[in-house]
Amino acid sequence: MNDLIWGVVGLLLTIMILSYLIGDNVFFRFAAHIFIGLTAGFVAVMLINQILIPYFVTPIVTGGWQQWLWMLIPLGLILLLVMGQWSKFASAGSIPLAYLAGLTAAVAVGGAVFGTLIPQARAVIEAFDPAGWYAVPGRSWLRVMDALVMLVGVIGTLSYFHFGKRRSTDDVVESPDPPRLMRALGKIGQVFIGITLGAVFASVFSSALIALIDRVLFVGEIILKLIGGG
């Protein structure tokens, strides 16, 4: 019975949201605002329970005076962050934000270099390793073609990004004309970007379709339960 009640709640919310298919309406907005409030409340609970308490309260409660002294640093940073929300003390917020910016930048740089740039560039180059071409007998031409396509496609994609037009706030400013070869590579890059985005589009639709199927199945099951007396 308990499951049925929650099922009916889910059914009503599902229908309210799906009613958007025939246009924006009050039911959709009602469900959306319930969702916003609930999500915000739940995230707040999670942040308090899973961040504030273990990372701030627990070390203070369980630690000795030395830990107390250490915890004055995050306490000060938190106070500065909160103070920074008042325009009068806006500059106070810059130090905790600088802390986060430095941390984020370092993690991003490390990840970009060691996680993407080096391994991905190496993968492009390693495709030209002759040992790999002859790993499968009779298919070496396919490996060679694969390596060439990869090289040209990656350079083309980067060329397209690099020599694209830049739009400033005031006017469209074109970068200096690139060499003809780079323009040709940029065109090739467009095709490859299109192919990738096409695959992404199909995949996004696939995910969304599964969600639709799940909702239809859910609605049908709940209605069948209700008709059958639960």
């Binding site: 999670m46 993407t116 995949s203 996004v204 696939s206 995910s207 639709l212 199945l217």
Partner: protein
């Protein structure tokens, strides 16, 4: 220029256009055309004026010019009140007097506006052009209309001062009718427009920053420095020059409304402000403020005001036949898709999936699972939202059923707020919560930091005993493998980046929603990811190879139907667009 915005493609079109010049969509139904309501009024100059509030300094500049046009502010005197053509007021002759009372910066702005074409913005230039049009083309008819109108008001005031406002309005119309039969329709339409306009936006005008800015600048223009100056417009009006009804009259309230309506961007009201906001007596002006406006500030002010005005600008509300047909097509697509999904789910037998050869990323994942020790220690990272719970369950269940066996130890970590509830639901579905020892590492909201922390969890070479210890027992570095369940490419990429850099020896396997798969394939191709499976399309293969999952079989026909429908629509779209191009004789670039 203020044209009609096409409801289909958003292109701007001339007001007289009935179809969009870009896409050919019908723009407006004749009965709804605003311009036709303004019968008797020339369109083009007012179109220019409509953008006056796009450019505030330009507006002020224009108002100043308007102020200088004596016929608009002089007492009505029939034909005498209208300047003959060619006898236009010369701005330069009257400007010095007015400029004596203006701030220095405004004088400089005006001078620059006259000297440099682009100094006060494109819109202002258009406004100046509009001024010329007004002077050359419409001064006679326009001024006649206003004169008649004002005359009507005067007559009405003289006749019945105590009548209510509505009565007064009616009488005013009568007065106008007497003056000119042509005025009647014109006046009725204007009054209707004004009434509606003021009613709809009266509240907004008091609250918005843009109007505060406008009020402030107008106050500067008048030398009062007080934004409230506009509210006191009747007091500032020189009755001798305008000959408005006495204070407290209903008709006077009409004028106050007119002055407020000026701020709302309607075409007509710009001209009417000229009547109301007449030149301020110099005596009342306090010390002009010392404001130094640079050119960049000027441009910023122009841009800001234009943005605010654009947001509030009245758009031609049209009911496009195309919009109706679009809505109908959309409804048909909705019904067909949902109907076919319902049919496939509830009226057809579940699919029987043949065992098909698997791509290498699946084979590698199966190989990794088969080689896992019986007491393997694994880290499961839940990085997906509730929206993808159904898909992730379909994809992950066949894999996790193979991975999770008694004797193995799982550490569970989640990076989305819902991760805790979703992970519990998924693990309980496959019985992992009973059979396997799970270690809950908790919610870690920031994937990049958490992934970095996971990577640096090697035993420390030295420790500081006094350092505080958080309530989290974080990761150890002795995992036999990590399984990441993610719904987005960005979330998974962060983990791959950090673990590739800091834990290159630990196998990382990905269980993904379909949408995350294509962008993460390069990481499998480069060997950074041991194996991966994304979406139901791939899970189907995995499921078939591992004995099949009922949940996928139930949904598979509906999935096939949806995909086929999508393919059909894309092809239809291509054919339709091609035939349309042929019909129009145009070639898409």
């Amino acid at each position: 220029m203020a044209g009609l915005i096409c409801p289909e493609c958003g292109a701007e079109n001339p007001v007289e256009a009935e179809r969009c010049q870009e896409c050919g969509a019908p723009l407006i139904e004749k009965s709804q055309r605003v311009d036709e309501q303004l019968a008797g009024l020339p369109e083009d100059p007012l179109d220019f004026l409509a953008q006056a509030d796009d450019d505030l300094p330009g507006l002020l500049h224009a108002l100043k010019h308007e102020d200088d046009q004596a016929p608009l502010t002089e007492p009505p005197g029939g034909e005498e009140s209208v300047p003959p053509e060619g006898d236009e007021p010369v701005d330069s002759s009257e400007e010095p007097e007015a400029e004596e009372t203006l701030p220095e910066w405004l004088i400089r702005v005006r001078q620059r506006a006259q000297e440099e074409e682009d100094s006060v913005g494109e819109v202002t230039q258009k406004l100046v052009v509009a001024q010329d049009h007004l002077k050359e083309d419409i001064s006679t008819s326009q001024h006649e209309n206003f004169s008649s109108w004002i005359e009507g008001i005067r007559e009405e005031d003289g006749a019945k001062e105590s009548e209510p406002a509505e009565e007064t309005a009616k009488k005013t119309e009568t007065g106008a009718e007497e003056g000119s039969s042509e005025d009647k329709d014109w006046l009725v339409k204007i009054r209707k427009m004004e009434g509606k306009f003021i009613e709809e936006t009266d509240q907004e005008i008091k609250d918005t920053d843009g109007d505060s800015l406008l009020q402030w600048l107008v106050a500067l223009e008048e030398g009062t420095e007080q934004p409230e100056a506009l509210d006191e417009t009747p007091e500032l009006v020189d009755e001798a020059s305008v000959d408005l009804p006495a204070e407290g009259d209903d008709a006077d309230e009409d004028h106050i409304q007119q002055s407020e309506a000026v701020l709302k961007g309607d075409e007509l009201e710009v001209t009417q402000l000229t009547m109301v906001a007449a030149p301020t007596p110099p005596v009342e002006q306090p010390e002009p403020p010392l404001v130094d406006v640079t050119r960049s500030e000027q441009q910023q002010a122009d841009q800001l005001t234009a943005t605010i005005a654009d947001e509030k600008a009245a758009r031609a509300v049209v009911k496009s036949r195309k919009a109706k047909s679009t809505w109908a097509i959309r409804l048909i697509v909705d019904v067909v898709l949902i109907g076919s999904v319902v049919f496939s789910l509830f009226f057809r037998e579940p699919a029987v999936l043949p065992v098909a050869p698997m791509p290498s990323q699946h084979e590698d994942m199966i190989s990794w699972i088969e080689e896992l020790p019986a007491d393997a220690r694994l880290l499961l990272v839940f990085d997906y939202q509730a929206a993808y719970a159904a898909e992730m369950a379909l994809v992950a269940e066949p894999v996790l059923e193979e991975v999770i066996h008694p004797g193995r130890q799982l550490s569970v970590l989640y990076t989305s707020p819902m991760g805790e509830l979703l992970s519990r639901a998924l693990l309980s579905e496959i019985g992992a919560d009973r059979d396997v020892l799970t270690d809950d590492l908790g919610y870690h909201p920031f994937s990049a930091f958490t992934a970095y922390q996971a990577g640096i969890s090697a035993p420390a070479a030295w420790v500081i005993p006094s350092l505080p210890k958080s309530g989290r027992t974080f990761l150890a570095d002795d995992y036999e493998g990590i399984i990441l369940l993610s719904d987005t490419f960005e979330g998974a990429r962060v983990w791959i980046d950090q673990l590739s850099a800091l834990m290159p020896g630990t196998p990382l396997n990905l269980i993904l929603s379909a949408q995350a798969g294509p962008m993460l394939m390069p990481y499998y191709d480069s060997g950074q990811v041991s194996g991966m499976i994304s979406g139901v399309g791939e899970a189907r293969n995995f499921s078939a190879a591992e004995g099949g999952s009922g949940a996928i079989l139930i949904r598979w026909r509906a999935y096939q139907t949806g995909i086929l429908l999508m393919v059909t629509l894309i092809v239809t779209g291509i054919l339709f667009s091609s035939s349309q191009v042929d019909d129009d004789g145009e070639v898409n670039a």
